[in-house]
Subunit: 116 residues, 2 copies
Amino acid sequence: MKKREIYNRQTGCSVENTVQFISGKWKSVIMYHLLNNSTQRFGQLNAKIPSCTPRMLARQLNELEQDGLVEKHVYETVPMVTDYSATTFGQSLVPVITAMSEWGDKYNALAKAHAK
Amino acid sequence: MKKREIYNRQTGCSVENTVQFISGKWKSVIMYHLLNNSTQRFGQLNAKIPSCTPRMLARQLNELEQDGLVEKHVYETVPMVTDYSATTFGQSLVPVITAMSEWGDKYNALAKAHAK
DNA sequence: CTGAATCCCGAACGATACTG
DNA sequence: CAGTATCGTTCGGGATTCAG
């Protein structure tokens, strides 16, 4: 998988830089699961993100890999096994993903309280 | 501006919940500027996000308002003046936006170091 | 099991021009 | 100043099928 050049994407806005790497409907969710579980197989990720189709999972994983956030290890066994894990660069996103997760939790609590 | 129902969007995934609110190419950037400068006029925001067209800025602001993250105050003077500010709900995003901003800063430093 | 290939659609985005 | 109207384009994402 050819890597994208990731060092020429400054936008002059720090937030906008970050958006470029984690935009996409599933990227931050994928990173969340990878950062919380070290190594994950394709099927494991798929099971944890059921509303993401295998096609989309593969595509977003490819982009994350091209951006240097994720590493892929293929074992040419039968049946094939593939491991995904966050790179060091990817792990630097921990504060971002954590903040997003915590906000989503608070939102859940809010919504629940509002429902009853 | 009619509000969207924001309390029925739980997805079972905390990160995914958050993504729903700040997805969109400019929303997190807009929130960044609103959270750092309290009240901002349309033109001020536009000046700070030059690569966002007025049309897109208006649309994303509308969505943020419908989602309860942003408040809009219109002064029917001539010429017209409009103030935007983050609601309390919107301010709860501070940790998320801050984390994104800090990551973007680090990325900038990395990219700069890589360039030379 | 993993994930590429093809096809398709709607949403998101952008440029330009225009208005109260 | 603060947007809207219109139009066109691009891109993300889904369904299905197929392959190593």
